[in-house]
Symmetry: C2
Subunit: 161 residues, 2 copies
Amino acid sequence: MQIIRPAPLTRAAFAPFGDVIDTDGADAFPINAGMTTRFHDLATVDVAAGAGRPAIAIFRSTPVSLPFDIALMERHPLASQAFFPLAPRPWLVVVADDEAGRPGTPLAFLATGAQGVNYGRNVWHHPLLALESVTDFLIVDRGGADNLEEFSLEAPVRIEG
Amino acid sequence: MQIIRPAPLTRAAFAPFGDVIDTDGADAFPINAGMTTRFHDLATVDVAAGAGRPAIAIFRSTPVSLPFDIALMERHPLASQAFFPLAPRPWLVVVADDEAGRPGTPLAFLATGAQGVNYGRNVWHHPLLALESVTDFLIVDRGGADNLEEFSLEAPVRIEG
């Protein structure tokens, strides 16, 4: 079985797949008479294809533990999809390049509990993978239907810690 | 000095001002082969006026304590603005009806650390008010400028606990 190991989630490594939503290294400036720092423009929300509208949701996710075998990838042809954890626990991000309409070899990243991601439109990714315990995530994606493409891998890929 | 006291934040009480972002009582259904529950369509993100685009930010907010005197309200003519706390601490939401282009008497709500809000476009609200300790919030609003109107109150209004 093919085995992959998570790398730390960094803007540079994740750039081909979307945005890392993280205060670290972000453009920041004071607002509200200095009471608040705004870490600005952390993700490009791209939901307007097919006359879409942005929607906010919360996903409550049952955790997995490593090693974990992934068997399916998905993508959203009409919209980006942003995830941010609402508890400070690490979580797993798994993405793949597109190879002629199907996902290539998956890449895994270990996000900290202070990092979110925004998958670009049409970027192959695994469904949400919480770790340690049930975790809520705030989601920004697209209202409306017909925005999901799934691909079952011929052989599962194992993520090891 | 006029004194107001925070009420619990509920969908019904907050409806004239926008959405409460809360799993409690939300439309929910399983996704990802049952591994995740999606609490769906929690807020109406309305950022497209003036050819806007949605933007994701993080606000890091210095806390206040009660009693706290508010002296200024603001609103965003081109977009809704959603706030969700990234730590499970209560926070304050202060809004007002519009009265001929200026804010009426402020209303205060005490949000739990599991509740966000989405201020409707053009709804008068106070800048972010964290409680207890420095708190990060995830924000969904509008990229671009010229989307802020501020109003200084003739007399401050005191929020008491």
